[in-house]
C-alpha cells in the first residue's frame, strides 16, 4: 500500500469541509490520488449522522443560536456529535476496495490507530463492544463516524485534545445517555500535547494500524486543487496513487 498523505487544512467552515471531502472522494474513486488523512479546524458545530434521533439533542434552537452553533445533518453513520476548537477532527479519505470492503475492520483499525496514539502519552485507550469509539477509564475520548461513497470513505474521527467539554452537554453524544466525555487535557493536565503534537502522533498511529508504510505531509492547497480536479487534468504536484 502507498503512503498515507496527511494535510492540516487550517480553519474550515463545516460546509466547506463537506464540499472538500466530496471532491476528494471523487478524485480518489477515479484514481487521481491516493489515501488521505485531513485535519480541518472547525468552528463549533453539531452534526448528526444517519443513526441520529431527535431526542439526542438536548439544547433548544434558541440556545444554539445564542452560542452561534450550526447543526448539520450528514451522511455518516452515528448519532449527534460536537466538533470545535480544541478537538482534533480527522477526515479519512481511503479506498476501501483495496481493504476488501470490510467496513467493521476499517472501524476497528481506526480505533486501534487512535489507541496507538494515546499510548504515546501513556494513556490506555480501550474499545467497548457495540460502542464504536475510544474510551479511557470508562469515559469517551474519541468518536468515530464514517461515510462511504463509491467505496471510498470520508468523515472519520474526532479526538478530544483540549476542547471545552461543556459543549457536549448540548447533546447526548452518539445517542448514548449517561456517558462522560473526556479529553487529553482533562486526563493529562499540563503534560497534555497541543493540537500540533496530537496531529503528528495520530497520523503515525493511524498509518501504522491502517497498514501504510509511512506518512507524507502535504499542504492544504494541494488538497484543494485535487478536490476540484477533473479527470485528464492531473495535477503533477499531487501525491498520486503510488
Amino acid at each position: 500500500m502507498s503512503t498515507l498523505s496527511v494535510a492540516h487544512l487550517g480553519p474550515v467552515a463545516y460546509r466547506d469541509g463537506l464540499d472538500l471531502q466530496s471532491g476528494l472522494v471523487r478524485a480518489r474513486a477515479e484514481g487521481l490520488t491516493g489515501d488521505w488523512l485531513l485535519y480541518p479546524d472547525h468552528p463549533p458545530v453539531l452534526t448528526v449522522g444517519r443513526g441520529g434521533r431527535g431526542e439526542s439533542l438536548r439544547a433548544d434552537p434558541a440556545t444554539l443560536g445564542r452560542l452561534g452553533i450550526e447543526v448539520f445533518e450528514v451522511a455518516r453513520g452515528g448519532d449527534f456529535t460536537w466538533h470545535g476548537p480544541g478537538q482534533l477532527v480527522g477526515y479519512l479519505v481511503c479506498d476501501l476496495t483495496t481493504r476488501g470492503r470490510d467496513l467493521h475492520r476499517f472501524l476497528r483499525d481506526i480505533e486501534r490507530g487512535l489507541i496507538e496514539a494515546l499510548r504515546v502519552w501513556g494513556l490506555d485507550g480501550e474499545t467497548l463492544p457495540g460502542r464504536t469509539g475510544v474510551w479511557v477509564g470508562g469515559e469517551k475520548i474519541a468518536s468515530i463516524g464514517v461515510a462511504v461513497r463509491r467505496w471510498v470513505s470520508y468523515h472519520g474521527f474526532a479526538l478530544n485534545v483540549a476542547p471545552d467539554l461543556r459543549f457536549f452537554e448540548l447533546i447526548h453524544p452518539c445517542g448514548l445517555r449517561g456517558i462522560h466525555m473526556t479529553s487529553l487535557a482533562a486526563r493529562l493536565g499540563p503534560k497534555a500535547p497541543d493540537l500540533a503534537g496530537a496531529r503528528e502522533a495520530v497520523a503515525t498511529g493511524m498509518a501504522e494500524r491502517l497498514g501504510y508504510p509511512g506518512v507524507a505531509w502535504a499542504d492544504a492547497e494541494t488538497v484543494r486543487r485535487l478536490a476540484t480536479a477533473e479527470p485528464g487534468n492531473l495535477i503533477e504536484t499531487a501525491p498520486a496513487a503510488r
Binding site: G51, G77, L103, H104, A147
Partner: protein
C-alpha cells in the same frame, strides 16, 4: 432481465445492515454507478451504487428496516424493459405491470421477508411502493410476502384461489394466508408434526435439522455433510466465545412453586386474549426480575474496563430462538414502568419481529439484564451464557408437576427450576443466590408485588 439489488457483503463481521435512506424513488431512471441507497451498519453509512443503467422498478425494503446481508431490497429493470412508470401515490387496484421479482433466483435466498403489502391505511413509508412489488397470478395480486410464504410452505396457487381474501379487491393478504395455513397444518396428515412445535412454528418452516429426513435411498450417500457457517452463525459464535472469555461464568440453581402464577395465568389469559394479547409466562418473569434487580442493583449493571456501571433503568433482554436463523436477544425498554398487560403485548411484538427479521437496531442494544426460557423447548434446567457486557442472565424452564412436601404431606405442585448465570468477577455467589431466591419468591408469592413494587 430485471436485476436484483441486494445488501452487499460489508465485511467479515457484518451480518446485517439498516436501510438508512433511499436516494432514488421507485420509477426513477438511474445510471450505472449512481448511488441508489444508503445502508448503515455500526457507525458506517455506505452508499450502494447501481450495478447497471436502468429504472428502479420496485423498492422492497422500507427505510429504517434492518435486513441481513444478501437480502434483496430492490429490483432494477433494464432500460428497454417496460415498467410500471411513476409510483402511484396510493396503492392502486389494477394489476401491476412491474417485472416479477419472484423470477429472480437471488430472491429465494432473501433472509428477511419484504415489507408486508400496504393494508387499508398504508404507512407513508410504504406508500411509494404502490403495487410495484406484486404480480398478477391467476388473475389475483399476490404480495412478495405471500409468495415467499407460498414457496416456503409449498402452497399451490389453486389453494390461494380458494381463499377468501380480506385485502383490497379480495386480494389474499399475508394474514389470510397464515390463517389458512394454521388450519391447513391442523389437518390430520400434519397433526403429529405440528403437535410438538411451538404455536408460531406454523409460520416458520422446520429447519433442515428438524425436518423429517427422507429414508436413506441407499447406504451409498455421504455419511457426513459440511455446511459452512452463515454470517449470523459466525457472529453468534464470536459473541459466545467473547462472553466465555471475558466473564467469569458461574451458575447456581433454585426452584419455584408456580401454583400462584399458573392460576393467575389460567384466569387472565382468556381475558387478555379477548383484548388481543397473548399472555405467556415471560411477562411474569420480567416483572419478578425487575423488582429483584431493584433490590439487588449490582446485578443490573455492566463491567466497563475496571469499573462497574450500575444502571437505574431496566431494559430486559429476551432470548428468542429462530431455528436455523440463529438466536437473537432483543430487549424490552424500561420494563419497570410497564404493567403486565403492556409487557405481554411488547413481549409478543418483540418475539414476532425477531422471528420475522423486523427488529430495529435499537431493539438489540442497551439491554441491562437478560432472561432465557429454555422451557419452551422442554428443558427442565440450563446453565445460560451471559449476554455480555451484562453481568447476569436468568434461566427459566418448563413447569412440571412434581411431588413436594407441604405441611408434612406429599402433594403435587407445578414446579419450575430457575438458574442464574453470573459474572463472578463482580457478582459474588452470595449475591447471586439471594437474587435468584428473591425472583423465585416473587413468583411463588406474586402478592409481594403488591406490597413492594
Amino acid at each position: 432481465m430485471p436485476i436484483s439489488i441486494v445488501v452487499p457483503q460489508l465485511g467479515e463481521s457484518v451480518a446485517e445492515g439498516t436501510v438508512a435512506r433511499w436516494l432514488k424513488a421507485q420509477g426513477d431512471r438511474v445510471r450505472k454507478e449512481e448511488p441508489l441507497v444508503e445502508i448503515q451498519t455500526d457507525k458506517i453509512n455506505v452508499e450502494i451504487p447501481s450495478p447497471a443503467e436502468g429504472t428502479l422498478a420496485s423498492i422492497l425494503v422500507a427505510e429504517g428496516t434492518t435486513v441481513l446481508v444478501g437480502t434483496e431490497i430492490a429490483v432494477l429493470a433494464a432500460p428497454d424493459e417496460v415498467v410500471g412508470g411513476k409510483p402511484a401515490a396510493a396503492p392502486a387496484l389494477a394489476p401491476a405491470v412491474a417485472p416479477a421479482p419472484a423470477a429472480t433466483p437471488a430472491r429465494a435466498r432473501a433472509a428477511a421477508p419484504p415489507p408486508a403489502p400496504p393494508a387499508a391505511a398504508p404507512e407513508p413509508a410504504y406508500a411509494s411502493h404502490g403495487n410495484g412489488g406484486m404480480v398478477a397470478s391467476e388473475g389475483r395480486n399476490l404480495s412478495p410476502a405471500v409468495r415467499k410464504i407460498m414457496r416456503e410452505q409449498g402452497v399451490r396457487s389453486e389453494e390461494i384461489s380458494a381463499i377468501r381474501g380480506s385485502g383490497l379487491a379480495g386480494r389474499v393478504t399475508r394474514d389470510d394466508l397464515l390463517e389458512y395455513l394454521s388450519r391447513r397444518v391442523a389437518a390430520p396428515a400434519a397433526a403429529t408434526a405440528a403437535a410438538a412445535a411451538p404455536p408460531l412454528a406454523v409460520h416458520v418452516p422446520l429447519p433442515g435439522y428438524l425436518a423429517p429426513q427422507a429414508p436413506a435411498a441407499g447406504a451409498l450417500g455421504p455419511r457426513e455433510e459440511v455446511i459452512p457457517f452463515t454470517r449470523v452463525r459466525k457472529l453468534i459464535a464470536e459473541n459466545m466465545v467473547r462472553a466465555k472469555h471475558t466473564a467469569a461464568h458461574t451458575h447456581c440453581f433454585d426452584e419455584a412453586d408456580m401454583s400462584a402464577i399458573v392460576a393467575l395465568r389460567k384466569e387472565w389469559a382468556p381475558k387478555l386474549e379477548a383484548q388481543g394479547a397473548k399472555l405467556t409466562y415471560m411477562p411474569f418473569f420480567i416483572k419478578a426480575s425487575v423488582l429483584a434487580l431493584k433490590e439487588f442493583p449490582w446485578v443490573n449493571g455492566e463491567v466497563r474496563g475496571e469499573t462497574m456501571v450500575l444502571k437505574r433503568y431496566y431494559h430486559i433482554g429476551m432470548a428468542v430462538g429462530r431455528d436455523e436463523k440463529g438466536l437473537i436477544v432483543p430487549n424490552l425498554k424500561d420494563c419497570d414502568r410497564k404493567n403486565l398487560v403492556q409487557l405481554a403485548a411488547e413481549v409478543n411484538d418483540l418475539a414476532a419481529r425477531a422471528r420475522n427479521d423486523r427488529l430495529k437496531p435499537d431493539d438489540i442494544v442497551g439491554g441491562t439484564f437478560s432472561i432465557t426460557n429454555a422451557g419452551v423447548y422442554g428443558a427442565i434446567n440450563s446453565a445460560p451464557v451471559i449476554n455480555v457486557p451484562e453481568v447476569a442472565i436468568l434461566g427459566v424452564h418448563k413447569i412440571v408437576e412434581r411431588p413436594v412436601i407441604r405441611d408434612g404431606q406429599i402433594v403435587a405442585r407445578p414446579m419450575m427450576n430457575a438458574s442464574i448465570g453470573f459474572d463472578h468477577r463482580v457478582v459474588d455467589g452470595e449475591l447471586a443466590v439471594k437474587f435468584l431466591r428473591r425472583v423465585c419468591e416473587l413468583l411463588e408469592r406474586p402478592e409481594l408485588l403488591w406490597f413492594y413494587a
